[in-house]
């Protein structure tokens, strides 16, 4: 492996939280603008982060904190693997493990709101996991490998072949960004019946950790979206940012819906669309041959 191959992903990995934070700042600014407000400065998420870092941490149980670290570190592992262009399936498995840590953290406190949030978080994973796995499979059908390297070696943009899968991934993006209509487990703002659910018991430094993790997650999932147009990559990045803005728009024109609806959408639209996309590729004879 040449030093360029090593340094570039490493830099990307280190910049990921910065990018994620900035995106969240843009999110808040844009959301405010859409609501007829001015909104906070773009750097607001960083102010929030450092403020939380400098606050006392109140603890309900110690395990709660341990799992929060697990959530962060495992998400970082997934992002790291992503930038080092590893196997997509494994990346999503690691991401699932990270998500489970958040759930375990919420379960390890005897707080009804955490538990309700954790149960809903499980449902969210149930909603987006199949989409992510199947999207990886759909990409595989064109590139012939689950390695991200294969996407770059493929030489063509994937989006023209995978339009339906792309739409499905947007559903997963909405869930991961915790935006309406999918923000059932822990909404970005607290006015929710379960008081931010899984986040309820975190405070101070550990809430900051959770924010940081969220930034990593957003970068990862937007990165995945960028893979749909990896040649040239800048179009992919623009595409991902466009989808990010689209999610914000949807957030601002819809109410939060309930879990059964979310599951229905993600399984019918998400899974259904990707499977239809696979059939189309297969029928068009464009799938890899083994």
């Amino acid at each position: 492996m040449s030093s360029g191959e090593l340094v570039l992903p490493l830099v990307a990995f280190l910049l990921a939280p910065v990018a994620g934070g900035l995106l969240c700042g843009i999110d808040r600014r844009l959301t405010a603008r859409m609501q007829g407000r001015i909104g906070p400065p773009i750097l607001q998420p960083f102010y929030d982060f450092f403020k939380l870092w400098g606050k006392d941490t109140l603890v309900t149980t110690r395990e709660n904190l341990v799992w929060a670290w697990g959530y962060l570190l495992l998400t970082m592992v997934a992002v790291f693997m992503f930038f080092f262009q590893q196997d997509l399936l494994i990346i999503f498995f690691v991401l699932a493990f990270a998500g489970a840590c958040l759930i375990f953290g919420a379960f390890s406190v005897r707080s009804p709101y955490s538990h309700l949030g954790a149960n809903r978080e499980i449902l969210q994973m149930l909603a987006y996991e199949p989409i992510l796995l199947l999207a990886a499979v759909a990409i595989f059908l064109k590139t012939g490998t689950f390695m991200i390297t294969g996407v770059f070696e493929f030489g063509e943009p994937l989006l023209p072949y995978l339009p339906l899968a792309f739409v499905a991934v947007l559903v997963a993006l909405g869930i991961k960004m915790r935006k309406s209509p999918f923000d059932i487990a822990a909404s970005e703002h607290a006015h929710q019946e379960i008081v931010r659910g899984v986040y309820t018991e975190y405070s101070g430094r550990h809430l900051a950790l959770i924010k940081l993790t969220h930034w990593f997650e957003i970068v990862l999932i937007l990165g995945f979206i960028a893979l749909f147009w990896a040649q040239p990559l800048w179009i992919g990045v623009v595409l991902a940012l466009g989808m990010f803005v689209l999610e914000l728009l949807i957030d601002n024109i819809s109410a939060r819906l309930r879990w059964a609806w979310m599951l229905g959408v993600s399984w019918v639209v998400g899974v259904g669309f990707i499977m239809a996309n696979m059939v189309l590729i297969y029928l068009a004879g464009g799938a890899i041959r083994v």
Partner: protein
């Protein structure tokens, strides 16, 4: 199936006020609801016996800061009824003017809160932006945004002049533009319908029997609005009640939304037909005897009962607020709903705990 028991309130981000529901859920289905109130009880009825009767206007306006003008006006009306005071027609019209503006601001506030409760943040913002217009009118006409203190026993405290009226009309025009943009969203938005249609159904006959009042009752198809009895000058303004028949949260929401429009029209009508003359009469003597007065607040019928004893102090002041009546219907709506619908259903009666607990 495990049952989950936890408190919903007193401090809860979706509840603007302190009330507690002890919820028992299976999965996310609510199976048992116990209301725990008393977190906001002050003891206003008793305090009203300790103040000279004209001062009670200020206390009554602070039973609830949202419908405060109507509380104050109703208190004045019950005393005027007891003492047989005829107030000037201009005062009556002005009371309707502020009452209907209060109703608009209250309903808009509520629409925002309910939008927030189902996670539609931008609708919340839009509703409250429109509401600021109404508050502007209240401020330029009475001097205060939320607690106007414009009513006194014997009439009102402030008058409108031509200049003010034209400014009010100007602001109302701007309000109408913003409001016309919001209404179709409330009526048609797919996600709002999913969250409100069929949620918290209060059947037609139950609504009456359980004592529901205001939009909660009218949302279940009852044409029952105290303003229809024509108190004050509502008779002259040809008031017609807004009725929806769905009985669910959606119907109650639409009912309130339409009442905003109706109130807007009433305000315009008042401005068009405002009679000239005095705005108050001098009050002589002390109240004696008893009287009861019903008026229509944004949340429904409010009943003031007063008994005087010939001194400056009242013997008894009893305030029956609409939310107090709507709690029992609420308790029948909740069991069987989903946890996610609890905030929507609770808000659908437009609870004002400060009112209910006094």
């Amino acid at each position: 199936m495990p049952r989950v028991t936890f408190p919903f309130g007193p401090q809860h981000p979706v509840l603007p006020e302190a009330i507690q529901l002890q919820l028992t859920c299976e999965d996310e289905k609510v199976v048992e609801v116990l209301p725990v109130i008393g977190y906001m009880h002050r003891g206003i009825e008793r305090a009203a016996e300790k103040n000279p009767f004209p001062n009670n206007v200020f206390l009554c306006e602070r039973v609830c800061g949202i419908c405060s003008f109507i509380h104050g006006a109703t208190y004045c009306q019950v005393i005027e009824k007891m003492m047989d005071i005829q107030i000037p027609p201009r005062a009556d019209y002005l009371r309707v003017f502020w009452s209907e503006l209060s109703r608009m601001h209250s309903h808009l506030l509520w629409l925002g809160l309910v939008a927030d409760s189902f996670g539609f943040e931008s609708l919340f913002m839009q509703c409250w932006r429109a509401r600021e217009r109404v508050l502007d009118i209240l401020e330029i006409t009475s001097g205060q945004r939320v607690i106007q203190s414009a009513s006194v026993v014997g009439g009102v405290r402030r008058d409108l002049n031509v200049d003010l009226i034209s400014r009010v009309r100007e602001i109302l025009r701007m309000f109408k533009q913003e409001w016309d943009a919001i209404i179709p969203v409330l009526r048609k938005d797919y996600t709002i319908k999913i969250r409100t249609v069929g949620k918290g159904v209060l059947p037609h006959d139950q609504a009456w029997k359980l004592g529901a009042v205001g939009p909660t009752l009218r949302g279940s198809g009852w044409d029952s609005d105290t303003r229809s009895s024509g108190y004050g000058v509502y008779g002259e303004l040809e008031f017609k009640a807004v009725v929806e028949s769905g009985g669910d949260s959606y119907a109650r929401m639409l009912c309130r939304a339409r009442e905003v429009t109706a109130s807007y029209e009433l305000v315009l009508k008042v401005l068009d037909s405002l009679p000239s003359g005095e705005i108050s009469v001098k009050v002589k003597g002390f109240p004696d005897g008893e009287a009861v007065m019903c008026t229509e607040q944004p949340r429904g019928e409010v009943i003031y009962y007063a008994r005087g004893n010939g001194t400056a102090y009242l013997e008894r002041l009893k305030i029956r607020t609409p939310t107090f009546q709507n709690i029992v219907p609420l308790l029948t709506m909740l069991p069987g709903c989903e946890l996610a619908d609890v905030p929507v259903i609770v808000l659908s009666i437009d609870p004002c705990i400060a009112c209910a607990e006094r």
